[in-house]
């Protein structure tokens, strides 16, 4: 979503006027040396007339005068700069940009030309060029509020949020109370985890008159900061504003909001309502695809596995060339341990999407879970040999090798992965696991220490390291790691059990007994996010928004 520039041209003009004395007197003097005196006067007068016309908003006249001035003084950067301003106001962006570029070529320290250029490029949605020019502007003039402001807006558009807010905060320009901008700002705060600031902007937004698409966006952001009721309320109002048959997307969005709020049963019901509305309106079945997907995810999350599979299968069959539906379907089948069906579904998905990396990976995982180790190995190897730039297929391959008693081979494959992809936590962790299984405990400990370094908050790495230390008799070291694992993951029964053993070995019978007492407790239920690894459908938008989005460069 892109705002129109808010700073009126007159301000630019005034700023230009403020900065006029900056133009190198030497340069002007030099220019004057090249032009005969009587011509120089004529050019200067044309320039002044041009400026006056511009001030009076007589852009055509301004252009004539400044063109004449430029003809006489082609090397005067000021003229190029102002001619650029006039051309910009006349909507001749390309020519305006050329003028600004010429100005800065002639005077590389002409800050206002850089600023003007940046502003122009921004309005033309050429964000990279805008960024380049405005960065130069603020370098040259660190106190230029507007340069910072525009740079902030550009960064906001580029979704480089931390820099965007830094620039906007450096600028004194008050933020406009304009929905489009506020939505961007809120999105930025959410992305940066600055929830309080996001909340402030979102609360401001809900009091404004929003376009439908803006309402949807605001709702999604409210959900991101767990203001579920506010989000659902907003989408409900949106839905109620429109007749169901004319804006079925609103019904869908309400279902999606409800799902994201964790009200899965309700979401499933709403998704089914949406499908019914589409049926009644005679919509094409392809329009129901996102709703089937949403219903399936909702059913999955509240434990209605069979209905989830049915709904997700509908989505996949209606849109076989969209891999995400096969991924969702197979994800649920695997969750239900229906591995044979999962394998069949992946194969169906691959038949329609033979180049899908994710489905190839899923094939490997499904075969691994089903105990078809040869097939799993083949699937993962295909990805590895195809030069997978991600580490997941290496990890999958290592898993298969470990399952089939080839720990050393697993360690070797992971070493190759590390060489290719660089050190990552997962590679180091599984290397540690593989080396431990291969009986190479000192090397396993080295790898696990590396994993710990790469991800200090991983309880699993600490647990594995502690276990390995314990196995080689380094009891105190084991206790340290296992205690940390427990601190990072309270209620981790494995850590507790191993600690009981470790303290027993250390002769601390009291602590051993303490951990033994908790060892048989059931671990606390994992608090996963509502949606796990499903691929969510997108928010639906009104048609006019879709067209507006499509028309953006």
């Amino acid at each position: 979503m892109k705002d129109n520039p808010q700073v009126p041209g007159v301000v630019v003009l005034l700023m230009a006027g403020l900065f006029l004395p900056r133009v190198s007197q030497c340069q002007v003097a030099a220019d004057h040396q090249r032009v005969p005196h009587h011509s120089a006067n004529a050019q200067s007068e044309a320039f002044q007339r041009g400026l006056s016309a511009l001030k009076e908003n007589r852009t055509d006249a301004a252009l004539v005068e400044l063109t004449a001035a430029e003809r006489g003084e082609p090397d005067d950067p000021r003229i190029h700069n102002f001619r650029g301003i006039v051309l910009a106001r006349l909507g001749q962006s390309t020519e305006a940009a050329a003028e600004y570029r010429e100005a800065v070529r002639l005077d590389p320290r002409m800050e206002d030309a850089y600023r003007n250029l940046g502003f122009l490029e921004w309005t033309d949605h050429k964000l990279e060029l805008a960024h380049e020019a405005l960065v130069r502007a603020v370098e040259l003039s660190p106190t230029d509020s507007f340069a910072h402001y525009y740079l902030g807006r550009v960064q906001l558009d580029r979704q480089v949020y931390s820099e965007a807010f830094r620039e906007l905060e450096l600028s004194d320009v008050p933020w406009p109370a304009e929905p489009g901008f506020l939505v961007q700002a809120a999105a930025g705060y959410v992305a940066l985890g600055r929830q309080d600031e996001a909340r402030k902007r979102l609360h401001q937004l809900v009091t404004l008159s929003l376009l439908d698409a803006q309402s949807v966006r605001v709702a999604s952001l409210l959900l991101a900061i767990h203001e579920d009721e506010a989000a659902i309320g907003l989408v409900q109002k949106l839905r109620d504003r429109h007749a169901a048959e004319l804006a079925p997307w609103a019904q869908f969005d309400l279902a999606l909001a409800t799902l994201l709020a964790g009200r899965c049963a309700e979401a499933a019901e709403q998704a089914e309502n949406y499908i019914n509305v589409l049926h009644l309106s005679g919509s094409e079945s392809t329009q129901m695809i996102p709703a089937w997907s949403l219903a399936g995810i909702a059913y999955a999350r509240f434990g209605q596995g069979d209905r989830a599979v049915e709904a997700l299968r509908h989505a996949a069959e209606l849109a076989p060339y969209q891999e995400e539906h096969w991924l969702n379907l197979t994800r649920e089948l695997m969750e239900l341990s229906r591995y044979s069906e999962a394998i069949s579904a992946v194969q169906e998905g691959l038949a329609a999407n033979p180049k899908s990396y994710a489905l190839h990976l899923r094939l490997g995982a499904a075969n691994l879970s089903a105990g078809h180790y040869a097939e799993a190995e083949a699937a993962f190897r295909r990805l590895v040999e195809a030069g997978d730039p991600l580490l997941t297929s290496y990890i999958g391959l290592a898993q298969v090798l470990l399952r089939t008693g080839r720990a050393e081979e697993a360690a070797a494959e992971l070493s190759a992965a590390q060489h290719k992809l660089g050190a990552t936590f997962l590679i180091s962790y599984f290397q540690g696991l593989s080396l431990e299984r291969a009986g190479k405990r000192p090397q396993a400990i080295t790898a696990l220490h590396e994993a710990k370094r790469l991800n200090p908050s991983s309880a699993e790495a600490r647990l594995e390291l502690g276990k390995t230390e314990l196995a080689i008799g380094r009891v105190q070291e084991a206790i340290v790691e296992l205690e940390e694992a427990l601190r990072l993951s309270p209620g981790n029964v494995q850590a507790g059990r191993l600690l009981s053993q470790a303290y027993q070995r250390a002769g601390d019978v009291q602590r051993a007994a303490k951990y033994a007492d908790t060892a048989t407790e059931a671990p606390p239920a994992a608090e996963g996010d509502v949606l796990g690894d499903f691929v969510l459908p997108d928010w639906q938008m009104p048609e006019e928004s879709k067209k507006a989005e499509a028309s953006k460069p």
Binding site: L391, Q399, S434, G439, Q494, L498, A519, L536, W539
Partner: protein, 594 residues
């Protein structure tokens, strides 16, 4: 589609899901054997063992009937039953007792399957003497253990059931069920599994520990697919044990007058409750002269009852490291066996588990703790088998206990769905390399090992008194297997029958240490063990090249320690308490404090 959670970008969470939603990863500590160029031309080496199944030929012909054939509606139909090798008629030759089961539908009385006792004819054959010995019995037979509970010189039998357990008093080769009278029949509603006779208070009378599995009620248990614990890899199967109520193990103290008292609470056995207990193995793991008890448990932590010397026990399994595997995870423990596999003088434990898991070898580290050394020992390479009966046995008499496992799945459906396991599974045989590791030699160990069955109970014994250990396996819906090793290694052996005089007559609980050159081989006289089965009570040692046992020390349950020197190899020796050279006199006899 929304890419916020796109699998294409493989969020860390998905990477974890793939990476960590795993079962135990196996590793073989041993690389596959590499053939040298020379060996390609040389004759293949003679196999070190060849087990062949002579069961049918030997006369073990009655199949074990256990629940449904193509599907098991309830967990009751899956556990199978045990086997005992014991000399019921005191002729010096071990006989074979096979526990049998039944079906949900039942049988007309004249056709109901029964347990079977097979008399050893000493010539390689056995005769079914069930009827004449009074051992005809029907029902959901489970496990069996042997002990002369009344010290009359005749081995008695205890058979567990889903229902009332049976204590068969042996009167010169004829048995009578005296369980009710003796007070060990149980409630009639419990599901007894493993058992072991053990003189826990060292008063000279064998007491009895009975493991119980699930609090099972046919009227209320859910049906296949009815709940989350009634599905396996997406297939609706019988429910449990998870989701069902675990049970309580029972300890009976022998009063010395033919009756027993339930001392479960007094002995603190019931402080470990709610486990799905299977096999009972006794061992003095901390070598303090008092028997401890290991109970392998399914889907719940296994139990190690440490004897407190005062009539009570404390479950120290978690602290000792034998409740879970090396990752601290529960396993579905089935059978267990005890031996000093690494020759350090301490008794270690090996346990079989469910499929998609490895068995577990716990090495006794001597300080009250064990280490799970499964992978390091080379025992972690098979995840596809579901293990049941298992025993350490020195099949080549080289002085290092080897391992045999009997396997078989619980779900007949597994064949149809091709999920990495099969219903009938081969046995596994591991050779002990003498350095803390084992080699899987199954494929070269003979047809008796590679044959597939849905096996459960397993017992080991020297059936022909020739130093060659044989194996009897109880198979579901098939006759028992009797595996005889046809390869003679050339190594020597010695076996001991203990006769207690102040201790219990069988000498159960006696620790025998055989000094053999630089090594000392140790084991105990043990009732129970394996999977709800009973092995030959005579303790067998391989001597390797040594032709005699230089010195044999026995620590009796009474406390007396005595020595027998220079016993010839390749013989079965009877060691009578009090007839050796005293090393340490008896401690004060009488019951333990309690």
């Amino acid at each position: 589609m929304n890419r916020q959670r796109s699998s294409l970008h493989m969020s860390a969470r998905k990477q974890w899901a793939i990476g960590l939603a795993i079962l135990l990863m196996p590793a073989s500590g041993l690389a596959p054997a590499q053939e040298s160029a020379n060996s390609q031309k040389a004759k293949p080496p003679l196999p070190m063992v060849q087990f062949i199944d002579i069961g049918e030929k030997a006369g073990l012909t009655a199949p074990t009937i256990f629940g449904g054939v193509d599907t098991k509606k309830y967990i009751l139909e899956t556990t199978g039953s045990g086997v005992a090798i014991f000399d019921y008629d005191n002729d010096g030759w071990p006989d074979i007792f096979i526990v049998n089961g039944t079906t949900l539908e039942g049988f007309p009385p004249e056709k109901a399957p029964t347990n079977h006792l097979y008399h050893n004819n000493h010539d390689g054959t056995f005769t079914d003497v069930t009827v004449q010995t009074g051992l005809v019995a029907t029902g959901w037979g489970q496990g069996v253990c042997v002990g002369d509970y009344d010290n009359d010189g005749w081995e008695d039998l205890y058979v567990t059931y889903y229902g009332k357990n049976r204590l068969y008093h042996n009167d010169h080769g004829v048995f009578t069920d005296v369980a009710g009278k003796a007070g060990v029949a149980g409630s009639g509603k419990a599901w007894g599994t493993g058992c072991a006779f053990v003189d826990y208070n060292r008063d000279g009378h064998l007491d009895l520990l009975v493991a119980n599995y699930v609090d099972f009620n046919l009227r209320t248990v859910p049906t296949p697919g009815e709940g989350t614990s009634c599905n396996w890899k997406g297939i609706p199967v019988m429910c449990g044990p998870r989701g069902l109520q675990g049970s309580k193990n029972i300890l009976y103290e022998n009063r010395g007058d033919g009756t027993f008292t339930d001392v479960t609470t007094k002995a603190h056995i019931d402080r470990t409750n709610g486990h799905f207990a299977f096999s009972v193995s006794t061992l003095d793991f901390d070598d303090d002269g008092w028997p401890d008890i290991y109970v392998a448990s399914d889907s719940t932590p296994s139990i190690l009852y440490h004897n407190n010397h005062d009539g009570t026990f404390t479950d120290v399994a978690v602290m000792a490291g034998v409740a879970f595997n090396e990752d601290g995870r529960e396993q579905a423990g089935m059978g267990a066996t005890v031996a000093d596999y690494n020759g350090d003088g301490r008794l270690d434990i090996f346990k079989t588990n469910f499929s998609d898991d490895t068995p577990t070898l716990y090495r006794n580290d001597g300080d009250g703790v064990f280490s799970d050394v499964t992978y390091a020992a080379g025992l972690g390479s098979h995840l596809q088998y579901l293990g049941w009966g298992t025993m350490f046995l020195d099949f080549d008499n080289d002085g290092w206990p080897d391992l045999i496992l009997a396997n078989g799945h619980v779900y007949p459906e597994v064949d149809k769905y091709h999920l990495g396991s099969s219903y009938r599974e081969p046995r596994l045989l591991y050779h002990n390399n003498g350095n803390g590791t084992f080699n899987d030699i199954s494929t070269n160990a003979g047809p008796g090992i590679n044959a597939t069955s849905s096996a459960r109970g397993l017992a080991v014994g020297d059936l022909w008194n020739d130093g060659q250990l044989s194996v009897v396996i109880n198979n579901v819906y098939a006759p028992p297997s009797l595996l005889r090793n046809t390869v003679r290694s050339g190594n020597h052996w010695i076996a001991f029958k203990t006769v207690g005089t102040r201790s219990n007559r069988d000498g159960i609980g006696a620790k025998i240490s055989v000094k053999n050159g630089q090594r000392t081989l140790v084991d105990e006289v043990r009732s129970g063990s394996s999977y709800i089965s009973q092995n030959d009570l005579r303790v067998h040692f391989g001597l390797g090249a040594a032709t005699k046992a230089e010195s044999v020390q026995v620590r009796w349950p009474s406390g007396l320690v005595e020595r027998f020197d220079n016993l010839p190899g390749d013989t079965l020796q009877t060691l009578k308490e009090g007839s050796g050279k005293i090393v340490t006199p008896n401690k004060v006899l009488g019951k333990g404090k309690g």
